[in-house]
Amino acid sequence: MMERLIYADKVEKYYGAKGNMTKALNRVEFEIGKGEFTGIMGASGSGKSTLLNVLSTIDNVTAGHIYFESTDITALKEEQLAEFRKEKLGFVFQDFNLLDTLTIEENITLAITLQSKQKQKADRRAEEVMKQLGIYEIRSKFPYEVSGGQKQRCACARAVVNHPMIIMADEPTGALDSKAAQILLDTFVTLNEEMDSTILMVTHDVFSASYCKRILFLKDGEIFHELIRGGKGRRDFLNQILDVLSLTGGGVTNA
């Protein structure tokens, strides 16, 4: 059994005031083990982005606890959270969130230097990651000069460069064409399998989800299903996902 990395303990998140309350997350409980590549799927409004936001400390929970190893992040103060994000988390967003005033290389270096590593080490580490992700050739270009896929790989490089505990990806393929999406997902697999990164990816795209090893399905703020790929091939897994979705699409509510 894999070592437990994250434990979400009856997490609740409400929006709005009394009388007009929206339950975005309703007593969500699950675990993520070290080295897992987990996907979260659900229709829009199902709470999947909210879940990622509370897990990644971008948003706070209304009730419940989230443990990273033994640390309860819902109890951390703001400054501790900043420290936590810096050391333990890597982010990949749908719209990249690269700094447009910095080059590809500088975007990655900045993430390293914020952890105050020495310059030479930082340069070497950045070079290493860029080579791994195939963006070394474009390192001195600015984000607006490269393609979406390259931008997203730069974001990935920035996310993994500090050896985070986990990489959080929010619809990472959302703004990419299918070819670039495939390359990115292969990158994720490489990161996961060869570099032992733990990845948590929110997506509503079945093709992207089929790259995961395990998928949590969210509906109306609750986890209603879980799929584990096990030894299956990607194509079989994809079909399995489609089955689950077709069930929720029409079936569940009518049943």
Partner: protein, 677 residues
């Protein structure tokens, strides 16, 4: 690394908010110019009492500091909003808020310093031009010098840095209060577009317009008292805000009525854009309108004042040089000698003013003229000056004709037992009344009025205070010499410090109580708006001294006005330019609907034109009536023959040029933002 980031961000901000940088450069340049003038020896050479100019500019700079704080504060918040996602990314990367605050502050400071440095050279050139203008207005020759004052630069830096620091003070708190989620989703929240729902608010437009008309009628019919006017002005300000509150509904209502105008071109689109823009910007636009109107009006008033000054000064100081002594037997030898040493005294006349031990005319004037005062200062048998002399003042016909001839006035004639009443034009009806009601007796003779003369004759103590009774010479033995006077004609150039040198020969000032004391009760006359009353007067020096203050005031108000205008227009322009990139998709849709490039540009032009014209036209309507009224009254009171509109038009012209410049920048930038990817 963070330094690189900071510098790159500065570069980007400079590009994105070029208009802001340019405005700050202009403001910096103006400040350099004016502060440089304070320390300029060329400026000091014009006029000894230089402090007035320095004080006025200092005051202006104080206000400008607040304008700069306002502008920087606005821009900082604006950037904070636009760049929230970027700051969110910093936070995600693990930067601390303290670090981000520092970067952001540093960026803004660098931007400020860059604009200051860019302003140095233009500021230096402005300074030379302004000094030249100053000399030209005061009619003094000026030789251009390349003098440069480091003090002016230092003060400007000091004021601007202080303004930036104050404007940035709250940034830290802002960052502290914000949660990472707000940063990342802030730009999404702002996508909500406010639409005016109900149209009942359109009634405000009519109420506001009705009030503005009412106000103007009151102005024209002089229906306001000095106290009620403030209430009416507060009402006017409220009406302007109300107008903008209503305007959005007004446009929406107009659209809903389906007037045929909205079916022409893209008018529907333009009106909708405008309605929502006004709704979100109404408070800012209301404030801009009020301040535009104020700036326009104050310029008009100052230009009028300058003109009044010029004419009035010539009236008040007809003699090139004049001196007063409280002793009846003063020879003025010392004054004549000093004058001769410094200038060419081609002619002079010394004479006495007489009294007959009574004061019925002065009593009459004290009770009939507004704003007179009686000095209560007595010390060692001496006293301070009042509005009128202790006794009524008389003069002999020969002396009278002698000084008249100096001014090129025709000779006056008197038969025995006649007198001439010579007084100021401003109290002409009182002079009439005096001649009718107060009998003039000299010795045993009661005199008849020959005529009333009102040519300007220095009647602020030199030739009496406000008036003078001229009697035939043969009656002078019945009168007592009261005090002595000397007037003279100067040829050629007059040194700027002659007045000061002459003053140095007189010893009226009691330093222990800082008041000039005289052996007799001296009268200064009742001129109030502009009064030149002194014991020695050198016309040339006084003209410059008087004009100097007014010209300084002109410069100061123009300085304030332009800085304000630029700051306000920058905010309007930056708003538009950011909209251009934010709502680019709207214009994309227009294109998809079949509009070509030229038609799109026309829509943009129309939209910007209405947006910019709103505060422009409203402020003109507001100020034009008041300005016209003031001009008309001014011409009426002063008799200065100038076209009514002249002052207003001139102010409006300056205003319009600056306005147009920002409009063009806004339009060009807008189109460029739409086209850029």
């Amino acid at each position: 690394m963070l330094n690189i980031l900071t510098l790159r961000n500065v570069k980007r901000s400079a590009r994105d908010y070029l208009i802001y940088l340019v405005t700050m450069t202009i403001i910096g340049a103006l400040m350099f110019a004016f502060h440089g003038m304070i320390f300029s020896t060329d400026m000091r050479a014009i006029y000894g009492e230089f402090a007035a100019f320095a004080a006025l500019i200092g005051m202006a700079s104080f206000f400008i500091m607040f304008i700069v704080i306002w502008l920087v504060h606005y821009m900082v918040n604006f950037m904070l909003e636009k760049r929230s996602r970027e700051f969110g990314t910093y936070l995600l990367l693990g930067m601390e808020k303290k670090q981000i605050t520092r970067i952001f502050r540093r960026e803004n400071m660098i931007l400020g310093v860059v604009s200051m440095l860019l302003g140095l050279l233009p500021g230096f050139i402005f300074q030379k031009i302004f000094i030249n203008m100053f000399y030209a207005i005061l009619d003094v020759d000026y030789r251009m010098s390349l003098e440069f004052s480091p003090w002016g630069v230092l003060i400007t830096f000091g004021v601007l840095v202080l303004a930036y620091l104050l404007a940035l003070v709250r940034v830290k708190r802002k960052f502290k209060k914000m949660h990472i989620r707000d940063f990342i989703y802030m730009d999404k929240q702002n996508e909500q577009i406010v639409h005016e729902k109900g149209t009942w608010k359109k009634i405000f437009v009519f109420i506001a317009i009705a009030y503005i008309i009412f106000f103007n009628i009151l102005v024209f019919t002089s229906g306001m008292t000095l106290y009620s006017v403030w209430g009416f002005i507060i009402g006017l300000i409220a009406a302007i805000y109300l107008l903008y509150v209503g305007l959005s509904s007004f446009f929406v209502n107009y659209i809903k009525k389906k007037n045929k105008v909205i079916y022409k071109d893209a008018n529907l689109f333009v009106l909708r854009q405008l309605a929502s823009k006004i709704k979100t910007m109404r408070f800012t636009m209301g404030t801009l309108t009020i301040l535009f109107a104020t700036a326009l009006l104050s310029w008009t008033v100052v230009m009028m004042a300058a003109d009044y000054q010029k004419t009035e000064l010539d009236n008040q100081i007809p003699f090139d040089v004049a001196a007063f002594s409280d002793k009846p037997d003063a020879s003025f030898e010392e004054q004549i000698q000093v004058t001769r040493e410094n200038a060419n005294l081609s002619d002079f006349h010394r004479y006495n003013i007489y009294e007959n031990g009574t004061d019925p005319i002065n009593q009459f004037l004290y009770s009939h003229v507004d704003g007179t005062w009686k000095n209560e200062v007595f010390k060692d048998g001496k006293m301070g000056s009042s509005t009128y002399f202790g006794y009524d003042t008389y003069m002999g016909l020969t002396d009278y004709n002698r000084i008249r001839s100096m001014l090129g006035l025709e000779e006056a004639v008197l038969e025995s037992e006649q007198y001439i009443l010579h007084g100021k034009e401003k109290i002409d009806d009182l002079l009439e009344e005096i001649s009718n009601t107060i009998p003039i007796r000299v010795g045993i003779h009661t005199l008849d009025l020959r005529t009333i003369n009102m040519e300007p004759l220095m009647q602020n103590r030199i030739n009496g205070a406000d008036y003078m009774i001229v009697v035939p010479d043969e009656l002078l033995p019945y009168l007592t010499p009261y005090y002595s006077v000397m007037v003279g004609v100067l040829k050629g150039e007059v040194p700027p410090d002659l007045q000061e040198k002459l003053r140095g020969t007189l010893h009226f000032l009691d330093e222990s109580i800082n008041e000039e004391l005289y052996a007799i009760e001296v009268g200064e006359g009742s001129s109030q708006v502009l009064s030149v009353s002194d014991n020695v007067m050198v016309a040339d020096n006084l003209r410059i001294e008087g004009s100097f203050v007014i010209v300084s005031l002109c410069f100061m108000l123009a300085y304030l006005g332009i800085v304000f205008l630029c700051a306000a227009l920058t905010i309007m322009t930056v708003q538009q330019l950011s909209d251009a990139s934010k709502y680019r998709f709207r214009y994309e849709i227009l294109k998809q609907l079949g509009m070509n490039k030229r038609e799109t540009e026309k829509v943009v032009l129309k939209q910007l034109a209405v947006y910019y014209l709103c505060p422009y036209i409203i402020s003109i309507i507001l100020s034009i009536f008041i300005g016209m009224f003031a001009s008309e009254r001014f011409v009426y009171f002063t008799g200065i023959k100038a076209a009514n509109f002249q002052y207003y038009i001139l102010a409006l012209l300056v205003f319009s040029v600056v306005y147009a410049a920002y409009f063009i920048v806004s339009y060009v930038g807008f189109i460029r933002n739409l086209e850029s990817k």
